[in-house]
Assembly symmetry: C3
Homo-oligomer: 137 residues x 3
Amino acid sequence: MQKEMRLEPKARGFHLVTDEVLRGLPELRNFRVGMLNLFLLHTSASLSINENADPTVRQDFESYFNKTVPEGAPYYRHNDEGPDDLPAHIKASLLGCSLNIPISNGRLRLGTWQGIYLCEHRDRGGPRRLVATISGE
Amino acid sequence: MQKEMRLEPKARGFHLVTDEVLRGLPELRNFRVGMLNLFLLHTSASLSINENADPTVRQDFESYFNKTVPEGAPYYRHNDEGPDDLPAHIKASLLGCSLNIPISNGRLRLGTWQGIYLCEHRDRGGPRRLVATISGE
Amino acid sequence: MQKEMRLEPKARGFHLVTDEVLRGLPELRNFRVGMLNLFLLHTSASLSINENADPTVRQDFESYFNKTVPEGAPYYRHNDEGPDDLPAHIKASLLGCSLNIPISNGRLRLGTWQGIYLCEHRDRGGPRRLVATISGE
């Protein structure tokens, strides 16, 4: 099973999208055991799995990644798409665009505190598209 | 094939767990070709693949990640679970909680120098659970 | 389907290898829907997906990762294989050695701007080997 999904536009930052993704994947319940791959079709946003409860975790992620991948570093050469563009590419590779999550009994087998993050690294990233592929039985 | 496994509690740091994982997966030998997914059910530890020989590599990893993701940064807001908690979440996303490793002839198809790391980012993380899923034939 | 591939030796830096990888995978066209896993058999190089157009992005990646994972940090203990070795291991774990890319209608389902990077972190890494595994139908 494979389908393309669209995530609504989001502000720059880290967003919990577990529910938005699951709403688009009613087919999950047909799989007793399997694997979900989520593949984001962009190079300036990323997918990650992390804490699903306290929103300050996601705020701290945004602060941390802005600090560790600064805008306007003097050695950047790729500057023609705005100061947020090259850092967005670097953050996307640090965090990754492809997630594999096991499926058990028709549900994602996430830990109690795990959720799916859409990490929007651009100031105005717009809607983001991803490909969901399920294998299993 | 899917099963949940438990890794014994480990000190904060980077640990080679290839043998511990393989001991829990005797089913591997039944697969001629396939893929193993290891999915850690936590948000303050991670899985990685790296050098399996010299323990100073893993010590240097701990030093590096402590330096690049410091405790007590003045801009952290998520501080109520101890100074090691928020950095642990960030390290977990930098390194990832989900690994895919090919299987060939009943064995993991790792390179000569590759091993599986359990990266324990908490001071007292306790036992860690993971879900192992094998697909193939 | 599983096969081992060899990537030609590359200079230290970030290299777009989408075409080199695809040339070695004519079998892709036989899969209507599926998943490609690329697994690099090394611990001092990595695989990533990022911008496939402007070469300055890849130059900036090399600059950034050299700055954020410096050579010769005073706390490194693993120094006997050259100053580029331990940083190469760290970069390899930050970026990862295992990629999952969906397949649709016989082709990789990459976004318009996405390409596959071989990230060579050693000064003289030599040829790099990877295992390609395709599942699907």
